[in-house]
């Protein structure tokens, strides 16, 4: 016989699992540190590409003066300056990533707690069945 309450609960749980839950479950498969680490790594890679694209554009913008000063530039100083700016950018971006994704991780865990509560209730319904 079909248990009406059980079907309602199962439908709700399945709807969550198919929708928002998909992402939450994928998130919660990681430990917090691993999840935040991987997201920060992605951000560092993204920012590195963005910085490279920006720098290419900058060189093209200053092409004439750059070509003129090509042999007069102190390359070590220039590299140091570039690296410092790059590091400031990447560290700042990684920090923002950390804050945003720490919040998202906490939210996913909270949603999943509710979901697991529902699963527990469902399990109890099966056991209580005469």
């Amino acid at each position: 016989m079909i248990h009406e309450e059980r079907v309602i609960l199962m439908t709700k749980l399945q709807a969550y699992e198919d929708g928002e839950g998909k992402k939450d479950i994928a998130t919660s498969n990681y430990f917090r540190g691993d999840y935040l680490g991987s997201q920060m790594l992605k951000s560092v890679i993204t920012m590195t590409i963005a910085a490279a694209v920006f720098y290419a554009g900058y060189i093209f913008y200053n092409l004439e003066s750059f070509m003129k000063d090509l042999y007069q530039i102190d390359w070590i100083e220039y590299a140091k300056m570039l690296l410092t700016r790059y590091l400031i950018l990447v560290i700042g971006y990684a920090l923002i990533t950390y804050l945003v994704y720490a919040y998202r991780y906490a939210k996913a865990k909270k949603n999943l707690k509710k979901y697991y509560g529902g699963l527990k209730a469902l399990n109890a319904m099966y056991h209580d069945e005469p």
């Binding site: 079907v7 709807a15 963005a50 093209f60 913008y61 990533t97």
Partner: protein, 315 residues
């Protein structure tokens, strides 16, 4: 008021029941509007101006994720700018690449904001988007809002300086590139608008999350005022070119639209029809869950008041 609430309830039921059709239709209309507006504001490549291409792309967008509309729009802009000059296309490509890298990391769900903001700029009511983003989304939407502002100002700068670009020699590639970048990056208005809009998103979000009565209305009013003040002060300090009357009128209209959004969306769960499949030990379940229709009770009007009978004391 009862009629309005009933209308809201009917809307909720309608959206819940026909969400399967409404979603692709919405995407189709959004893509169509975005592409047509790009064609009107730029339109340098003749082939892309054809309505059949726009319709086919819009139709494709209706079945694909929302971000596909953004990719299509970006491609349209780059191609149009390429027809104008290669340097413009290069600047747009670099800019879109950097924006995409920031946008897809933090706010990939805010495609609607990125698309609607430039459209609202053309309708002279861009101020509504940051307020609504603060009401309906998260502070991270400030990233999407900033992206939308940058896209609009880039396109409007290029389309407003076609004669200046064509006056430069075609061989001087670096010079043309510099001309576009200079004009675009030195646009103080863009910086002021970007800062004001991002701040508005955060202010509106923070206020609407407070546990006070009428927090959404307060958030709309505070956000609109803060936006106006930052825009006007910013324009004054940075000597940016903005229209004071335009800002005030646009903000007032935007606040009105935001109030409508508040009425439609506040504490409303537009729960949709769910089609789910699952199984247990005994059955396979194929469930279609349709949201219930809850009609508000009609308001009672007092027409006649009967005088209360005095109870006779029995003892």
């Amino acid at each position: 008021m009862t009629q309005l609430l009933l209308a809201k309830e009917t809307l909720k039921t309608f959206v819940g029941r026909y969400e399967v059709y409404l979603k692709p239709l919405g995407k189709f209309l959004l893509a169509l509007l975005a592409l047509v507006m790009i064609n009107i504001s730029t339109g340098y490549m003749e082939r892309l101006n054809s309505m059949s291409i726009v319709l086919i792309l819009a139709l494709m967008c209706s079945f694909l994720p929302l971000n596909f509309i953004i990719i299509c729009s970006a491609a349209f802009i780059i191609l149009h700018l390429y027809a104008l000059s290669m340097e413009c296309a290069l600047v747009a490509l670099i800019l879109f690449l950097i924006l995409a890298l920031v946008y897809f990391r933090f706010a990939p769900k805010d495609a609607v904001i990125v698309l609607l903001l430039p459209m609202c700029f053309y309708l002279k009511i861009p101020y509504v988007i940051p307020v609504c983003a603060g009401l309906l989304a998260t502070p991270v939407s400030a990233v999407a809002v900033a992206c939308g502002v940058v896209v609009y100002y880039m396109v409007s700068y290029v389309s407003g300086n076609v004669s200046g670009l064509s006056a430069l020699e075609a061989e001087d590639m670096s010079g043309r590139f510099r001309y576009v970048v200079d004009g675009f990056l030195k646009n103080k208005t863009m910086l002021v608008v970007m800062a004001a809009f991002a701040l508005t998103v955060i202010i509106v979000y923070l206020i609407r999350r407070l546990s006070i009565d009428h927090c959404w209305t307060i958030a709309i009013i505070a956000g609109t005022i803060a936006q106006m003040v930052v825009l006007l002060l910013g324009a004054l300090v940075m000597d940016a070119d903005v229209s004071t009357i335009g800002i005030i009128l646009g903000s007032l209209v935007s606040a009105g639209i935001a109030m409508i959004v508040e009425f439609v969306m506040f504490q409303m769960d537009y729960s949709r029809t769910e089609n789910v499949q699952f199984e247990d030990d005994e059955y396979y379940y194929y469930v279609k869950a349709v949201p219930k229709v809850i009609l508000s009770k009609p308001e009672k009007t007092v027409k006649k008041i009967n005088t209360q009978r005095k109870k006779k004391k029995s003892h």
